[in-house]
């Protein structure tokens, strides 16, 4: 009996034990925040907005691992400038950046697929915040919240605009009403499969988002965040690409006349890029701190500059751009081209190509791999305006803007009074634009939208199959197909990533 009684007691105790083992069944991760709780506090939406900026620089996990070569800005600059006539390829490599030089793109290449993916991750972030602010009814719309909302519209516009440059025909280089543009995502909850909008529709979205952004932002958080002027700068650039000259001029005017910015002078320009965050020329940049230093394996600087250890140092400033700058060695912009000399004073060559390193992405805090890349700066506004004036036939105003740049770059002795013989006004403006904005992700698109071919008649490994003994330093190369790329060649665009086409049968591939 006693035994049975004991059993019963034990059993009851254990039963109670199960019930009262009130284990917490809802276990949330402690380093992540759920989408639901984001709208509970203002902090939530600010953090997500900051996250969109962070996506420009972060090495996000993709395909199951973090590839040091993958970050948004690295691809942004390389996929455009390595295809231009400003940077020469110094050696063959299996890194997909090589395909930009040779124009042998593949739908499989990791850098392009990553860029597309992160672009849309940014758009997802912005859509989440826009949705919460506009539709959830939980956030009060004060100045700060409007600023955040505006920043998100700006970031969405910027991401869309960048995607359009790489994956769609530029509006002036094709038939924008029928050419496929990009997939437009404007909410965080839409069907996964969606078709590409046309180029015209896509640019309309960019304009709409940037315009909305400009109207909302009145409380700038700093140059590392978007601002009203940054939205205007984006509009100026977008209208320039659309060849709507008057609007390009108007928005450039708004930025220049806002009084918030001044051009760096010739004496301060050499230290501009390493200290861009503190400079008055900067409109908007992405801030990197030491924690974001990607070193040899992932920094933007690594491919184009090395101190022997700091980077790969495989791509250099091309003969073509140096030829444009050779007439004026006093041009202060030479400071960003670092010639590597051998002990005997002659110029070092690697694999037969002379080494001219590029330092626009180096030396923040003295570190060869650290910089905060500038997305919009004042000199581009002058150049946008100049191009608009040039296309409108207004020579005086165009040259005035070009000279404004030259005055601040050590060329006060060589200002333009008129268009030199053998050149057009547009040539003058585009040449200045090339020298000023070199290596900042503009050149390839500036050529294409103006129907100019990409001419690379210099030795380099963009020529497939050559070996260093083929290089004849006394004679330029002839007969190779890669020397001239026509502005309307379909191989210019990158392929829509294979993953997208596989998972989204509504999306058409590029030819």
């Amino acid at each position: 009996m006693k035994v049975k009684y004991t059993i019963q007691v034990l059993f009851v105790l254990f039963a109670v034990g199960i019930l009262s083992s009130c284990s917490k069944w809802d276990v949330s991760p402690r380093d992540q925040i759920s989408t639901e709780s984001l709208s509970e506090t203002k902090d939530g939406i600010v953090n997500v907005t900051n996250g969109v900026y962070a996506l420009f620089k972060d090495q996000v996990e993709f395909n199951g691992f973090i590839d040091d070569n993958n970050s948004y800005l690295r691809q942004y600059f390389q996929m455009s400038d390595f295809a231009s006539d400003d940077i020469v390829c110094g050696q063959v490599t299996t890194d997909p950046l090589y395909y930009s030089f040779t124009y042998t793109h593949s739908p499989d290449q990791a850098n392009s697929r990553f860029f597309w993916y992160v672009s849309y991750k940014m758009i997802n972030g912005t859509n989440t915040v826009i949705d919460i602010i506009e539709n959830s009814g939980k956030i009060e719309r004060d100045n700060m919240v409007n600023q955040i909302l505006g920043e998100n519209y700006f970031l969405r516009a910027f991401s869309e605009f960048s995607l359009l440059k790489f994956y769609a025909k530029l509006p002036t280089a094709g038939n924008p009403d029928s050419d496929p543009g990009i997939i437009l995502r404007t909410t965080a909850n839409e069907p996964a499969k969606k078709a590409r909008a046309t180029v015209t529709e896509s640019y309309n979205q960019v304009i709409a988002d940037a315009t909305m952004a400009a109207s909302l932002m009145n409380q700038s958080r700093g140059k590392e965040f978007a601002s009203k002027e940054a939205a205007w700068a984006l509009l100026s650039r977008a209208y320039l690409y659309l060849e709507d000259n008057n609007k390009a001029i108007a928005y450039a005017d708004s930025v220049i006349n806002s009084g918030r910015f001044t051009l760096e002078s010739a004496s301060s320009f050499p230290s501009y890029f390493p200290n861009a965050l503190a400079s008055d020329e900067t409109i908007f940049l992405i801030a990197y701190t030491q924690q974001d230093n990607r070193g040899k394996f992932g920094s933007i600087a690594s491919m184009i500059y090395s101190d022997g250890n700091s980077g790969w140092g495989e791509e250099f400033a091309s003969e073509s751009i140096r030829a444009d700058m050779d007439d004026h060695l006093e041009d202060i912009r030479w400071k960003y081209i670092d010639t590597l000399h051998k002990d005997d004073g002659s110029i070092m060559t690697k694999n037969g190509i002379q080494v001219f390193y590029i330092t626009k992405f180096s030396f923040q805090d003295g570190d060869p791999n650290l910089s905060s890349p500038v997305m919009f700066r004042l000199s581009e506004m002058y150049l946008n305006r100049a191009e608009g004036y040039a296309k409108n036939g207004d020579e005086t105003k165009a040259l005035a803007d070009v000279n404004e740049i030259r005055k601040n770059r050590g060329l006060e002795g060589s200002l333009y009074n008129s268009v030199p013989a053998g050149e057009t006004l547009l040539d003058v403006v585009l040449k200045e634009r090339r020298l000023e904005l070199a290596f900042e992700g503009h050149r390839t698109f500036d050529l294409i939208r103006n129907h100019k071919n990409i001419v690379r008649k210099y030795w380099g490994y963009h020529i497939k199959g050559i070996q260093s003994p083929d290089i004849d330093p006394d004679n330029p190369p002839t007969g190779y197909p890669e020397l001239v790329i026509n502005w309307n060649d379909p191989i210019i665009n990158y392929f829509i990533p294979a993953d997208e086409i596989l998972a989204n049968d509504l999306c058409v591939q590029n030819p």
Binding site: K24, V27, D31, Q32, A54, F65, A192, N309, K464, D470
Partner: protein
């Protein structure tokens, strides 16, 4: 006087005639056997041997003593002299019919087992020379596939039981149960038996976590009265096994390089240009990087154990030391394990077990890049200076360094350190209470703790990304776990019926704390986090997991002929959304011991056992990691020192358990007591597969967790054991096992993909899991030397193309094998035993990823290439039929395609060992019970067409890996081991 003398004489005479016969009874291993019946034949006079195996019985000359003990062959002994002792050695009954099989929560005898179960005992596990259980199982159990993931010291193997039933990343290993409690740790030297549970009838009682099979380990306990010592020493020498992967020598690479200079017009090599860039002396410069970086290494293992038993108390104590030097520079592993198992029998009803297993290990690991640079460095570069010191190389070093990567990996290895330490302890407390004859209660409880710390340091003096800065990263992981399993056990017989069962509950919880720090800017000579002065980062988080269950099982048998087992279990886990986190798992198994039927016993004499089994059950799998159902933003980033949240996971509030329905039919037969044969046929269907379904990248997410689809694993397993020869002095056994598994997906609405490193696999109905979908390689264009892939046009016609972008991805192979198996054989003669095992696998494909770099058609002229297969050739001029394209016309030839997809079938001879047990006379002379010497060769030889390091390729899907894709790994090892085993 005479009468007294007569009396005395009579008495004296009587003594020898009717006297105590004494002796000791031993088993065949020399252990004393208590409890043996010693009976005077023809009478009911009998005694039982005591705890020391001693007996003493009244007998006269000419009497026959009969020795009887369950499980042993009875022996008879005629008393010839009353003045000597009669020691007896008893042999185990070959049939082992009533051998106890440990099923986890309960024990059954082999007769009663109605499920697909395989048992290995400590003798079969003796060939373990590592702390890895996988290597002990390789090739021995049908349906168990063991893959050695890496030859790095301290790395374990991956085990798969009956195919792959799930496709999500996560823990895919079987569930381990140590001494009746889920989880736990153990050293292979302490294993008494190891049971593999394969079907739901057996695993059903483990419910939710038994989807992938269960491995039950029982550790040793004290058996005989006298303390028994066991000492084992094992010393081995191992060398790296590079398989078919050999890097070129200086002259071979020189010839390879000359191909870069073949003139596209004349098709001849332009020697003038070639020699201008590549001096002729290079052909004779040859430093064997791989050969020198991998050196023979010593492994040692020592184990000392003591076990004993008295009336109330039994114990087993054991300590093991394992030291495994790695073949690659600066790698190695050491481990110490200590176990103490004690059992105290308070009285007839209550006993208490206290088991403790503690282990500590440390190791030095390697950096993947150091090994990568070693393989790829050119033979023309010598890592040593003339004075024997290691060269320092970076991008600025004057002088010629041919390799593409301006870095000397030897220098980096000498000036960096990648070490790790672990410590863990498992404490089991088990209370068994006999309440009545048929009812008992047991409470099994375990507390576990483990901690791991790793340390990665690179000195600022190394070349490369940390030059001038150095690098330090330390990570610490602490895990606490507790489990309490409380059951009532029922056991009673009435007449021919026998019922047993259990019911109870189990509470299980674990908590993990993870933390890491990283920094650079280290002063030379210092390697701790405190001295880092720049780029300092921190991270860390903690997670909790709960798992509670209600468990019940009933077993019934009638007359030891008809058996039935049924179990029902309810599990609840914190891994699933709160309103969807409970599931129920039933199972049922039945068997019919045909050979116990009278009609069988009377008519069939050649078959000593025939059993028919069937089982059905449902198991589940909750292991997907916590909170996979939520929509999440990760806060682990920052922007200009402000908090930043990045979209991390797409929500799915419908996520729920995967459940597998398992059906198994089996037949066990034994002929003539010599041939043991089992056949199992199974069909396992896993529903609601949890998969990461790829999303279009334009969603901003690569994938989302969903329940999508089903996978069916069907197969057959055969196990044959033959005792070919058995005489007094010679015994020869052969065992063969074979398993064929076919894996088919179904119920998938829209085919989806997963890819790692550009290699993709498709998940669609009627295809196997891990089916590769890649552009199809067609070879080389005979006229142009360009690579060819297959393009499928819209109308279905196929044509070759040299434009990679036009190649159509197609299904070209799969990573799962068609069949696997193994065989083993042992021959013993007197004290010598020769034992060999082999394993084989057929029908799987491997993507040889290392060929992208090492077989690159000139895309990378300054990294070393692998020595080609003899039937490979490179295109030189129009009309050539070649396997490799012309270096002058090889655009995108190394892009992902079926070119690098190779057949991974293999036959491996795993172990050959020769052991010698010293005759008892000699060992007794040394005051030992047993002395056994063994010489063993491991990983003896592999036959395969796979042109890479090793056809054994990972089966795990994870961050850096994909099933069936092989990249560089730390090579496996060949070993020769010498082993001494002493029992005293």
């Amino acid at each position: 006087m005479r009468k007294i003398l007569l009396l005395v004489g009579f008495v004296l005479l009587m003594i020898p005639v009717f006297s105590q016969v004494k002796g000791v009874v031993f088993d065949e291993n020399g252990n004393t056997l208590p409890g043996v019946n010693v009976v005077l034949k023809g009478t009911t006079n009998g005694v039982v041997t005591d705890l020391d195996g001693k007996y003493s019985i009244n007998a006269s000359k000419g009497d026959v003593l009969v020795f009887q003990y369950m499980g042993y062959v009875s022996q008879e002994l005629t008393i010839e002299s009353l003045s000597k002792n009669y020691d007896i050695f008893m042999e185990q009954d070959v049939m082992k019919m009533d051998e106890v099989v440990v099923m986890g929560y309960s024990n059954k005898t082999k007769t009663e087992v109605a499920s697909a179960v395989a048992v290995l005992d400590s003798k079969e596990l003796l060939d373990a020379n590592s702390d890895d259980v996988g290597s002990m199982l390789q090739g021995k159990v049908a349906g168990v596939q063991v893959v050695s993931e890496s030859g790095a010291p301290g790395s374990g193997s991956q085990i798969r039981i009956r195919g792959v039933s799930t496709i999500k990343p996560g823990n895919e290993e079987p569930l381990y149960v140590v001494d009746g409690i889920i989880g736990g740790s153990f050293d292979p030297n302490d294993v008494e038996t190891l049971t593999v549970l394969k079907d739901a009838g057996a695993t059903g009682v483990y419910g939710a976590r038994a989807n992938k099979g269960v491995i039950i380990v029982t550790t040793k306990t004290g058996k005989s009265g006298k303390t028994q010592f066991n000492f084992k020493a094992s010393v081995g020498m191992k060398t790296a096994d590079h398989g078919n992967l050999k890097m070129m020598s200086g002259s071979e690479f020189y010839d390879w390089s000359s191909e870069l200079y073949r003139d596209p017009q004349t098709h001849e090599i332009d020697k003038i240009k070639f020699y201008k860039f590549y001096p002729k002396e290079l052909a004779s410069q040859n430093y064997d990087w791989v050969g020198n970086a991998f050196q023979p290494a010593l492994t040692q293992q020592y184990n000392l154990s003591a076990a004993g038993r008295s009336d109330k108390f039994s114990y087993y104590a054991s300590g093991t030391y394992f030291n495994d030097k790695g073949t690659f520079r600066n790698t190695g592993y050491e481990k110490v394990n200590f176990r103490l198992n004690t059992k105290y029998q308070f009285n007839k009803w209550i006993s208490l077990k206290n088991n403790v297993n503690a282990y500590a290990s440390k190791g030095t690991s390697y950096d993947y890049m150091d090994m990568y640079y070693t393989y790829l460095a050119l033979p023309w570069d010598d890592p040593y200076n003339e004075d024997g010191t290691i060269k320092y190389i970076d991008g600025n070093t004057p002088g010629k360094w041919w390799s593409r990567d301006k870095i000397n990996p030897y220098h980096t290895i000498e000036n960096s350190d990648h070490n790790y330490k672990s410590f863990g302890i498992d404490y089991d407390l088990v209370l068994d209470v006999s309440i009545t004859k048929w009812l008992s209660f047991s409470s099994s409880n375990r507390l576990s703790f483990s901690t791991d710390k790793s340390h990665d340091f690179v000195s600022p003096i190394t070349a490369g990304p940390f030059h001038g800065k150095g690098f330090i990263n330390e990570r610490q992981n602490n895990w606490w776990g507790a489990l309490s399993s409380n059951m009532f056990h029922l056991n009673f017989d009435f007449g021919k019926h026998s019922i047993s069962g259990l019911a109870g509950f189990e509470l299980n919880g674990g908590s993990n704390d993870y933390m890491w720090v990283e920094g650079k800017g280290l002063p030379e000579g210092f390697d701790v986090p405190s001295v880092a002065s720049s780029e300092i980062k921190i991270g860390g988080t903690s997670t909790l997991e709960y798992f509670n269950s209600l468990i019940s099982q009933v077993n019934y048998d009638y007359d030891k002929r008809y058996f039935l087992t049924a179990s029902f279990r309810v599990d609840k886990t914190s891994n699933f959304p709160p309103d969807n986190n409970t599931a129920m798992f039933p199972s049922i198994a039945a068997s019919w011991m045909v050979s116990n039927e009278n009609f069988f016993k009377d008519n069939v004499s050649f078959m000593s056992m025939l059993k028919v089994r069937a089982s059905y059950g449902v198991t589940g799998d909750p292991e997907i990691g916590a909170s996979r159902y939520m929509g999440l933003f990760s806060l682990s980033s920052q922007y200009n020192n402000n908090s930043a949240a990045i979209p991390y996971q797409l929500a799915n509030y419908n996520l729920t358990w995967e459940r597998t329905n398992m059906i198994n039919f089996g037949l066990d037969m034994n002929f003539f007591n010599r041939v043991d044969f089992s056949v199992d046929v199974y069909n396992n269907v896993t529903k609601d597969l949890i998969v990461l379904v790829a999303q279009p990248l334009s969603q901003g997410f690569e994938h989302r967790w969903e329940n999508a689809g089903e996978v069916t694993n069907k197969g057959v397993e055969l196990n044959l054991n033959v005792i070919a020869v058995k005489t007094r002095s010679v015994e020869w056994n052969i065992g063969v096992n074979f398993s064929k598994n076919s894996n088919i997906l179904s119920g998938i609405e829209n085919p989806f993909f997963s890819s790692v490193g550009g290699v993709s696999q498709i998940y669609r109905n009627d295809a196997s899991i891990y089916t590769f979908i890649l552009p199809k390689w067609l070879g080389v264009d005979e006229q142009t030397g360009a690579p060819l892939w297959e393009k499928i046009n819209d109308d279905g016609t196929r044509e070759p193309t040299s434009m990679y972008k036009d190649a159509t991805p197609q299904e070209v192979g799969k990573a799962l094998p068609d069949f696997v198996g193994g065989a083993s054989t042992s021959v013993s003669w007197k004290g010598l035993t020769l034992f060999a095992t082999m394993a084989y696998q057929y029908g799987n494909d491997i993507y040889n990823y290392s060929r992208v770099a090492m077989d690159n058609d000139g895309h990378e002229p300054f990294i070393n290439a692998l020595v080609p297969k003899s039937d490979w050739s490179r295109w030189e001029r129009p009309g050539d039929v070649a396997t490799h394209p012309s270096m002058q016309n090889a655009d995108l030839s190394t892009e992902t395609s079926s070119r690098y997809l190779e057949d991974g079938s293999f036959i491996k001879i795993r172990n050959i060992s020769l052991s010698y047990a010293l005759p008892k006379k000699w060992s007794a002379g040394m005051k030992m019970h047993d002395v056994i010497l063994t010489l063993r060769a491991e990983n003896v030889y592999t036959w395969t067409n796979y042109w890479g390091q090793d056809p054994e390729v990972t089966l795990a899907k994870g961050d850096w890996s994909m099933p069936g894709v092989s990249d560089f790994k730390y090579p496996n090892n060949r070993q020769i081991v010498f082993n001494i085993n002493l029992k005293f």
